[in-house]
Amino acid sequence: MAELNILEAIRIAMDEELERDPNVMVLGEDVGRKGGVFGATEGLWAKYGGKRVLDTPLTEAMIAGAAAGAAIYGLRPIAEMQFADFSYPAFNQIVSEISRMRYRSNNAFGLPMVIRMPYGGGVHGALYHSQSNEAYFTSTVGLKVVAPGTPADAKGLLKAAVRDPDPVMFFEHKKTYRLFKAEVPDGDTVVPIGVADVARPGKHLSIFCYGYMRFCALEAAETLAREDGVEAEVVDLRTLRPLDTETVLASVAKTGKALVVHEANRFGGFGAEVAAIIAEQAFEHLDGPVTRLAGPDVPGVPFHHSLEDWFMLNPAKIVEAARGLVAY
């Protein structure tokens, strides 16, 4: 067991996968010599060379599309979008091609590939370096979408993603990169895609979250326990698509109350799907309205620190929302 932060866990996962399988390669802007703008690929270029750890031109469609071609050819590319905000030039490749290659070819072609994307706010990145745009991808049939919240999950899920026969969008919350260290099992431990994690068991309400919100929700749960005697169950979804509906519904069956939390905008955000599933399939268990706590409906995180603070969720806002729901 090593104590790692999420950034280190991601780097080690890539290193081990590059080592394990000669078909694995990494490509993206500045991933080579510089080691990535966040350092996620540091050292890999020197170790595996400039072809397997490839600095691409500044062209996201090319990164996604060439990765798809390489996957057709038999490689297992890990493509990086420098920021999730900059994945839109690649949207056509991701949605038209990558998500549906297997379906449209009736299983003749599968695309084992990963697209890693740093996302999320709270890092003074303003409108275009802060987006939580997972909903575009969670609503795309044929993609898998993963968003880890701990170093162990980051490593284990990235390994699972690399080995998955289908394309996986891998969302890394920038604010969590160096937020904390935690134990990560050594070696080849894979965390399966599609399985949520009950990060904290509880009985009075369920908080559904992922990524950085896991950290915030756990803090909020501590406060609720300490100050209110409320035991919140924190469910870290980890995989957003395919969603672990079973774990979600089991938690609601237990607590009767569901708070869905994400940093992304509310209207049409991923939380809508979670809420809609609960509303439809756990109707009889609900002791209060399925409640969503989400980023405000503005087109991006504004830059000035006071505006950014206004935008961002945090433990205090979760506590407040939870109190409202518990009191219902």
């Binding site: 490839l54 090319m62 549906r100 026969p165």
Partner: protein, 341 residues
């Protein structure tokens, strides 16, 4: 190369290109076959058997000749919706093609899931094609990148129209291929129209080939009705690619003999005289008369080919029609890989 590619080879001149008499006759026969399959699709469309057809008529010489140097089971094709003849060179049989147009359950391209014209088959190294134009070009580049990363000898060929050449992805693909001298051949089949929009409203500078030099590799314009000119360009491109010298862009100037698709009527936007003149640019009689002029194609041989091709497409259609329809119970499958799949 540019000069050679632009000039009609004297007499037939195929031997100078390394082609035997048998080769050029085989190319011609394959043009006939592609045309026969294509024409049959229109008949079946009019008969209500297939819902839609998008045609390769007029593009056959360019397609067969540019794919001719490609090595079976080694090189790759990322085609477009007019690539009926290219797909045949890569191994798709007339029966495969009719089956796909009929959307039968065991169609190799998609099991009846995709529209006609969406060629693809893992078994023939043909990448599955979608509808948004140009996306396949990056796949070809990605295959070439994969081969380059692995140090393997593979050439990827991709084709697309001149309207499509303006899509941003094409730029990104060509630039990247240029940077790393990837083994890829870009074939632009310039038929002068993107549905109704003519070249001068579509392509700044009017030449697609001219763009290649902006990426650091050669671009050549060839008469796409002349299979030998196309072959010469493709042969050179393939040789360059396997020598590690990088990509080539071939712009084959062709004529779209039909409307854009069975949903279109080109008389609405094309000059009647221009439509009338199209017959003059049909690559099949053009090549036939050249082959006849040098004594390679006799009337008997022509008749024999036509009879064979007709029998082939008749047989193919019969067999394709007898194939099973897709099973609705499978409609939900293969969104993701399945256990044991």
């Amino acid at each position: 190369m540019s000069a050679m590619a632009n000039t009609k080879v004297a007499e037939l001149g195929h031997k100078a290109l390394g082609l035997t008499d048998a080769d050029v006759l085989a190319m011609y026969r394959q043009m006939l076959l592609a045309r026969a399959v294509d024409e049959r699709m229109w008949l079946m469309q009019r008969a209500g058997k297939i819902a839609f057809i998008i045609s390769g008529q007029g593009h056959e010489a360019a397609q067969i000749a540019t794919t001719w140097p490609m090595r079976p089971n080694q090189d790759w094709l990322a085609p477009y919706y007019r690539s009926i003849a290219s797909a045949i060179t890569f191994g798709m049989s007339p029966e495969d093609i009719v089956t796909a147009h009929l959307a039968k359950g065991d169609d190799v391209s998609s099991g009846g899931r995709q529209m006609p014209g969406h060629y693809g088959a893992a078994r023939y190294n043909i990448v599955s094609l979608s509808s948004p134009v140009g996306t396949q070009v990056l796949h070809a580049v990605g295959i070439a990148m994969g081969a380059w990363v692995k140090g393997e000898d593979v050439v990827a060929l991709t084709s697309f129209g001149e309207g499509t050449s303006n899509q941003g992805e094409i730029h990104e693909a060509m630039n990247f291929a240029g940077v790393h001298k990837l083994p890829v051949i870009f074939v632009c089949e310039n038929n002068g129209y993107a549905i109704s929009v003519p070249l001068d409203q579509q392509v700044g500078g009017l030449s697609v080939a001219a763009r290649a030099q902006g990426y650091g590799f050669p671009g050549v314009t060839v008469d796409g009705t002349d299979p030998l000119a196309c072959y010469a360009a493709a042969r050179e491109a393939h040789d360059r690619a396997t020598r590690g010298e990088g990509p080539t862009l071939i712009e084959a100037v062709v004529h779209r003999l039909t409307s854009h698709s069975s949903d279109d009527d080109q008389r609405r936007y094309r000059d009647p005289a221009e439509v009338e003149d199209l017959k003059q640019h049909d690559p099949i009689p053009l090549f036939a008369s050249r082959l006849a002029a040098v004594g390679l194609l006799t009337t008997e041989l022509e008749e024999q080919y036509r009879a064979e091709v007709k029998a082939e497409i008749n047989e193919a259609s019969k067999r394709a029609e007898a194939r099973p329809e897709p099973d609705v119970a499978t409609a939900e499958r293969w969104v993701y890989a399945e256990e044991g799949g």
